[in-house]
Amino acid sequence: MNRISVNVDGTTYEDEVEPRLLLVHYLRDRPALTGTQIGCDTGNCGACTVDLDGASVKSCSVLAVQADGGEVTTLQGLAQDGEWHPLQRSFHERHALQCGYCTPGMIMAARDLLRHNPDPSPEEVRYSLRGNLCRCTGYQNIVQAVLAAAAAPDSVTAPAAGGEQTWP
């Protein structure tokens, strides 16, 4: 067992973990931040993408102990005080998600792209998202959402909640 201290979405967690524990399982089980999904076992789908110390990583391919002393941002840490990240807004406005399973990883990967290339071409968006698979959308609206977020990078107030179904 190893002792680690990780800051996730602004909160610091101290834990004893098995050396082989994957970061994605740590995030999902310990702080119960289940927004980060698992879609493969080969590092190919990108559903588990998070930000670790300013770098975009696939958290299924990183050990929890490697995040010791680090700072992790997940999809769940993006909205601040009711303000949506521009990518959250543009994904909503462009219908860039259907089942939503790939979405956390997709947004985290897109965020990384825009950090390095604030004004990408459609081809650059398509190319840079090739490690993130979506089975529902056909990608077209995702590409447009990323371009829209690049064009309007300000965060916005989240839209009002509808009568949403919650799960037991």
């Binding site: 999809l75 077209q140 509808g162």
Partner: protein, 761 residues
């Protein structure tokens, strides 16, 4: 007021975009606290007799709660997956866990329950299974030989057949030209991004099962049957689902075992399959070997068509519908005097096949649209012209097809012309000729398809309640896997009742709340589920009118609902009005409620035309889709945002099947690409933007006039893209290439055509 045609962003997005949704494996409910992890032990060989299973070492591993094998399950009835084939007789039965024999790589042999997640993997490795290998049956052609049998007691690998004895060759006599060919509609994996996942707990009286499914209610009835316990003792909850595409209809053996393990062990359990498991053990799609034969005259008239289907069912026939649906839809959009179709279903040592986006219809469309192109090439006529001459005329609807389907409404020729127009077809042909003339290594191909598909049929339930706060709740039998049901149903209710969308809650996927339902598949949601919601809302509206009239002391005919403000008015006295809350409050039950079931006796037949322009690099065989233009006509569109999303996703899956995806096996039946590193799931960089054209021909089958759109993109795009790649190489003498049209395969076809042209005859 009608909501139809309103572009509205989804109400479900907020939750998904901020918390990431709640899929089965995300559940952190108290009932599942401390749940044991389920790990399957799966067969590494395709066909073998199990000579020994020793679980003692696994049981001794720290943290192991239980290890179960087939002997623990004896006495339980075999599971009855959705649409179990009647023709399978008593043979070809599938057990919950393999006992004496395994028939595909990935077949579950044992399960291990552990306290901790990773211990499951360790303990599963310690389950010692001895296999005596048997020769594997790989692919449908080999299965037909009956040299190796999967089920010896059946005496054959043929699990069913129909109508082949009625084939009559004389119908081709009047044709000037007959084209005939065997084509492969290969096996593909469904790959929802969320794999299968199940959690379950048994409290001594009731079994609660959370499962990632397209229909909770069907899960419940299958579980009741399989476990031999009454339905009332089971509650199935389906939370967010990360894509289904047909493979999540109901519940299959692996998930039933997980539920059984909770029941048997008394311990809460949870299971979320790995992708490696998913790619061998979740049902797969297509897997047909088709023989097409088409005859016609030199003026372009098609006179006779035959489609002979061999359906690879995989190791266990799990559905009876794929091949029959392909046979029914065989003639597609064409008015052909003589049509014959028949099928054989065979078992092979591969993952079982079941529904996948389109389920039987894409296969039929791919076959006829390929046959039409072969015919066009043979008589030297433009493929668009051949199609124009043979499509069913717009004034012929309702049209009874030669195979007995009743096409409700259609404008097939117009759809084709709209697609050709939008693509500027003549200009594309000119560019194609110019590239050929210049000797450019990147040649252009133009492919098209005109399709008709069959969606819906049957019924669905809905319950709409308006309470004293003026809020509406919709309980729907149509559950969602990302299609946007919450938004669509709220729009329908708002349009009928004037209650704003943000005061409407849509609930699905819980058998305690919605005991009776059919669920989501076959593009049935809006036409059946939506019609049910609409009907329930109008019923609520009539009840409310009665109450409002009573409260206001006027005749019913003097009361009107102002849908804009959601208030009930006295017709000529706008100052006297009641809110929904006030009306509901005074009913005695403090709510107004309607619980309905909507059924239609016939399916609907959406249709459309796709045109694809591709570039083929003749030096590498690499195919790039340059443009994809579609007309998908499913009747009036409720929310274009949702419909476009369905079309995009469908087209992408179609292109993926044509160019990239295929489940491959070696000669021993071992899967060769059972990871996402090897399986060619399509990525953003592989696709262009799609060009969507409108078309809204209504149906009279349901009150909304709508047809299904979920599968349209896949059905139309597959033949369009396949035809385009072949068209690109037509000048080299290439007439057909099977899917998937990988660079290697395309390059080989180019080389072969080249060699043929050079060889002296």
């Amino acid at each position: 007021m009608s909501a139809f045609g309103t572009r509205m962003n989804r109400v479900e997005d907020r939750r998904l975009l901020t918390s990431g949704g709640v899929y089965v494996d995300d559940l952190r409910v108290p009932e599942l606290r401390g749940a044991a992890y389920v790990t399957f032990v799966r067969s590494p060989v395709a066909h073998a007799v199990i000579t020994r299973i020793d679980t003692s070492r696994a049981r001794a591993h720290p943290g192991v709660v239980a290890v179960y094998t087939a002997t623990d399950l004896t006495g339980l009835p075999a599971p009855q997956p959705f649409g179990r084939p009647a023709h399978s007789g008593g043979f070809f039965a599938e057990l919950l866990l393999a006992g004496e024999k395994v028939r595909f790589v990935g077949e579950p042999v044992a399960v291990v329950l552990t306290d901790a997640r990773y211990d499951g993997r360790d303990a599963a490795e310690l389950v010692d299974v001895e296999y005596r290998r048997l020769p594997a049956v790989v692919g449908p052609a080999e299965a037909l030989l009956d040299e190796t049998l999967l089920f010896e007691e059946a005496g054959t690998n043929l699990a069913g057949q129909r109508d082949r004895d009625t084939y009559d060759d004389t119908v081709f006599d009047e044709a000037d030209v007959v084209v005939e060919r065997e084509i492969v509609n290969h096996r593909v994996a469904c790959v929802p991004m969320e794999g299968r996942a199940t959690a379950a707990v048994f409290d001594g009286t009731r079994l609660t099962v959370w499962h990632s499914s397209q229909n909770a209610q069907r899960c419940r009835s299958t579980l009741a049957e399989s476990l031999g316990i009454p339905s009332e003792a089971i509650r199935v909850i389906v939370p967010d689902v990360g894509g289904g595409f047909g493979a999540k209809i109901g519940i299959d053996r692996d998930a039933i075992v997980v539920a059984w393990a909770a029941w048997r062990s008394g311990r809460a359990v949870r299971w979320a399959e790995s992708r490696a498991e998913n790619l061998v053990a979740m049902t797969q799609g297509r897997a047909q070997l088709n023989r097409i034969k088409l005859g016609g005259r030199r003026d372009g008239t098609i006179t006779a068509y035959r489609l002979d289907v061999v359906q690879d069912a995989g190791a266990y026939p799990r559905t009876s519908t794929l091949a029959p649906v392909t046979c029914t839809m065989a003639p597609g959009v064409y008015d052909i005097p003589h049509v014959q179709s028949g099928y054989r279903v065979v078992v092979t040592n591969a993952t079982p096949v079941n529904k996948y986006r389109g389920a039987g219809r894409p296969e039929a469309t791919a076959a006829i649209e390929r046959a039409v192109d072969l015919f066009a090439a043979e008589i030297g006529m433009d493929p668009a012209e051949v199609r124009r001459r043979n499509v069913i005329a717009a004034d012929a609807f309702p049209f009874r097809s030669a195979t007995g389907a009743c096409y409700d409404s259609g404008e097939y020729g117009a759809a084709l012309d709209r697609a050709l127009g939008a693509a500027a077809y003549p200009r594309l042909r000119a560019e194609q000729a110019a590239r050929r003339d210049s000797g450019c290594v990147k040649v252009l191909g133009i492919g098209m398809s005109v399709y008709v598909e069959m969606t819906g049929g049957g019924g669905e339930t809905a319950k709409v309640t308006v309470d004293g706060k003026g809020q509406a709740t919709v309980l729907t039998g149509s559950s969602t896997q990302g299609q946007g049901h919450h938004t669509a149903w709220a729009m329908l209710v708002e349009a009928e009742l004037g209650i704003p969308v943000d005061r409407i809650t849509v609930v699905h996927g819980d058998t305690d709340l919605i005991p009776k339902a059919v669920g989501t598949y076959s593009s049935r949601s809006l036409q059946l589920g939506g019609s049910a919601v609409h009907k329930a809302a109008s019923d609520v509206r009539s009840q409310a009118r009665r109450h409002a009239a009573g409260l206001l002391g006027v005749r019913e005919s003097d009361v009107t609902l102002d849908v804009g403000s959601g208030t009930w008015h006295v017709a000529d006295d706008p100052g006297r009005f009641l809110t929904w809350g006030q009306v509901a409050d005074h009913t005695g039950t403090a709510s107004i409620c309607a619980d309905v079931e909507f059924a239609s006796d016939r399916p609907t037949f959406p249709f459309g035309a796709h045109l694809s322009a591709v570039e083929v690099d003749t030096e590498t065989g690499m195919v790039t889709v340059l443009r994809h233009v579609t007309v998908d006509d499913a009747g009036p569109i409720l929310n274009p945002v949702l419909a476009e999303g369905q079309r995009h996703g469908g087209i992408a899956q179609g292109i993926a099947q044509v160019l990239f995806e295929e489940v491959r096996y070696d000669a021993d039946g071992t899967p060769l690409n059972a990871t996402l590193a090897d399986y060619g799931a399509v990525a953003a960089a592989d696709l262009p933007d799609f060009e969507l054209e409108a078309g809204e021909t209504p149906t009279d089958v349901n009150p909304l006039g709508v047809k299904g759109i979920g599968e349209a993109g896949t059905i139309g795009s597959i033949p369009a893209v396949q035809n385009a790649v072949i068209d690109a190489l037509a000048h080299l003498g290439v007439r057909h290439i099977d899917m998937p049209m990988t660079p290697g395969r395309v390059w080989a076809a180019i080389r072969e055509a080249d060699a043929e042209r050079r060889s002296p005859r």
